[in-house]
């Protein structure tokens, strides 16, 4: 905020320790993987286009002080339901994606509203509640996909139906809509594919977020994120605004998942949504966001870093330990561990800052002895 503040490298590193650790891991992994820079870069571009949108879904709830919205899984689920219908109705290309979005968005609004209600009742533990809510949704979704589909809602296309003749199959080929977005306005520059329209959509989303922060609603979310009590006494409808943050997050997750899956070309009907949740949380935290602060930059940095590690680590692990499984587990481990580390560091830093703030208020005496006494008290 203060432009006169000096740049202190050590402070910068300690403030962005999660990003720094991740960067270091990636730099170590690259030579071991023996992958060419061009291969890594072209893969990165592809993966960035595929998954950046998803991560943006997490920004607003963080801004509104609700932490990482692990319940974005609900939005991803809505997107998948939209896709199931698009495939079942045999709608192809960009139109298929639009139809999936048109079906998914109202569903996301409903799910987001429900989720917001639940999270408002679980103040102070939004993250764990959102997480479990994602699992709960898995059950509802499986009920829908396996029993409602093919019973109340007929399945028309054989490729969608399970071999047993009821419910949606576990892996759905998205052939008709594959590349529906990426392949329009595709530019080939040397070895790199540049899906310009997808980039355009992401750029548009960035602009939306920048604009949104300037609106009254965005401003209110920032206020609530910092102090719910003050916001409430100023007359801001706290609960409603929190629900809106979740609803928008859920909608973005829905669209993000559709973009992700059109690139992948097939979907694990009952598993893909959960991976979206894990990935997005890891990416935004690796990008340097905390539970209480996130920027567009965090998203970009995070997506690039996480994917560079995803690309290199399995192969590096295989090379180092001579075992493909090690590499695979290594990626998973780092994915979970980085979230744990980011959460721990954030909670720990909050506690330390609170202590330091108190130390400034100490009565008489010099600060050193006050701190020493406190250190004694802690032990």
């Amino acid at each position: 905020m203060n432009p006169l503040k000096k740049f202190e490298p050590l402070k910068f590193i300690s403030d962005n320790i999660v990003t720094v650790i991740f960067l270091a891991l990636t730099i170590i992994a690259i030579p071991f993987s023996r992958l060419s820079g061009i291969y890594i870069l072209s893969n990165l571009i592809d993966r960035f286009a595929r998954s950046a949108f998803l991560v943006f879904a997490l920004i607003l709830p963080i801004m509104a002080g609700m932490g990482i919205n692990f319940a974005m899984v609900l939005g991803a689920t809505a997107g998948q339901i939209g896709l199931i219908f698009a495939i079942d109705y045999n709608v192809m290309g960009i139109q298929g994606l639009l139809l999936a979005t048109c079906i998914g968005v109202p569903l996301s609004i409903f799910l987001g509203w429900f989720c917001g209600q639940v999270l408002n009742r679980a103040r102070g533990r939004e993250m764990v509640t959102g997480f479990i809510l994602g699992y709960f949704m898995d059950g509802v979704y499986q009920f829908f996909g396996l029993y409602v589909m093919g019973w109340l809602i007929p399945i028309r296309t054989r490729e969608v139906m399970q071999v047993t003749g009821s419910g949606v199959r576990n892996t759905l080929a998205l052939g008709p809509v594959r590349g529906g977005l990426d392949n329009i306005l595709n530019l080939q520059v040397g070895p790199f594919h540049l899906p310009l329209l997808t980039f355009g959509v992401i750029a548009f989303l960035c602009l939306f977020i920048i604009w949104f922060r300037k609106t009254k609603l965005g401003h209110d979310m920032r206020a609530i994120g910092q102090d719910q009590g003050v916001s409430h006494s100023a007359g801001i409808a706290v609960d409603r605004t929190r629900i809106m943050a979740i609803v928008i997050s859920t909608i973005l997750a829905c669209i993000g998942q559709i973009i992700y899956l059109q690139n992948m070309g097939n979907m694990g009907t009952y598993t893909s949504q959960r991976q979206a949740g894990y990935f997005a949380a890891a990416a935004i935290l690796v990008g340097g966001a905390t539970v209480s602060k996130a920027t567009i930059m965090n998203v970009f940095v995070g997506v690039f870093l996480v994917h560079s590690l995803y690309i290199t680590m399995p192969i590096a692990g295989k090379e180092i330990f001579k075992s493909a499984m090690v590499g695979q587990y290594m990626s998973d481990f780092i994915n979970y561990a980085i979230i744990a580390l980011a959460l721990v560091l954030h909670a720990w830093r909050n506690k330390r800052n609170a202590d330091l703030a108190r130390a400034g208020l100490r009565g008489h005496a010099d600060k050193d002895s006050a701190l020493a006494a406190q250190a004694g008290a802690v032990q």
Binding site: N90, V91, M92, G93, Q95, L99, C102, R158
Partner: protein, 123 residues
């Protein structure tokens, strides 16, 4: 709620529905059966519909392909030892499925398409 607000919201909902309807009608895929049934001189062919990637059909083979929407579509047939065929065909509004025989495709001639009865749609 002011009249203007009401109208704006009405328009928004209408636009949303129209988008969905437009996506459904123009994006719906229809099946085209392309057969390469053996006739005297038939060989393996590669068929490209619209902008999709070429599909190989072996001699005597039979492949269902999808086209987006009814109306006019491009078709390209490439076969060994012969010039590429490029042409267009119209998917009739009334048809539920189409059948095209490679053997019937002759350079410089109108493409022959045969509507398939609904019963066959299930392949």
């Amino acid at each position: 709620m002011s009249k203007k607000t009401l109208m704006a919201r009405g328009l928004f909902v209408a636009a949303y529905l129209l988008l969905a309807i437009w996506a459904y009608t123009t994006g719906k895929g229809y099946v085209v059966f392309i057969n390469n049934y053996a006739t005297g001189e038939s060989v393996e062919v590669f068929v490209t519909l619209d902008k999709a990637s070429p599909v190989r059909i072996r001699r005597g083979g039979f492949v269902p392909l999808m086209v987006k929407g009814k109306g006019t579509h491009q078709i390209m047939v490439r076969r060994e030892g012969a010039a590429d065929f490029e042409g267009a065909f119209v998917y009739p509004r009334s048809a539920e499925a189409l059948s095209i025989a490679v053997a019937m495709i002759m350079p410089g001639q109108e493409l022959v398409v045969v509507p398939v009865s609904a019963a066959l749609e299930e392949r």
